[in-house]
Symmetry: C2
Subunit: 95 residues, 2 copies
């Protein structure tokens, strides 16, 4: 009975893995924002990538609101804001 794959213990582990993934996704662009702010150099950053980050997080945000998922909403607000900061840098730090 303790060898099934849906024991509370494995469910807890699955959730922990999900929360770890969410946390890492949230901080993905933190070092990039930090470097871009320090160097004021963003020429190698593709504006298409930044645009898709912002667009995709807005779509995920919409999805998160519809399925009423707090973690999805929170994670995508954070990543969207970091994407907006990168876009601001991209449009401001003209090289």
């Amino acid at each position: 009975m303790s060898s099934t794959t849906t024991t509370p213990k494995s469910t807890t582990l699955t959730n922990l893995i999900g929360y770890l993934g969410s946390f890492l996704t949230c901080i993905t662009f933190v070092p990039q924002v930090w470097q871009s702010w320090q160097t004021k150099s963003v020429g190698d950053l593709n504006i298409g990538m930044i645009s898709i980050v912002i667009t995709s997080t807005l779509v995920w945000l919409w999805y998160g609101v519809r399925i009423k998922s707090g973690p999805v909403i929170l994670a995508n607000i954070i990543v969207c804001l970091l994407g907006c900061v990168l876009m601001y840098f991209k449009l401001t730090f003209r090289t």
Copy 2:
């Protein structure tokens, strides 16, 4: 009876929004990989960001396998591969 928020129609829309989000997430790094390949210049790309992209997608992949979610697995394999390409560029195109 047609004004509830869980009609098949709104569920379909929610799923479509989710698929759109997945698609956009999958292609996020495509324009960045293309630009980096064309310019051979990756100095402004932060290696920490690329590392977190690879790590987070591996964690999400693990999560996807555990919850047996095809879309989560597929999307994260694609983003992980693009992250690995960016890491290869970052380590190869020394400026």
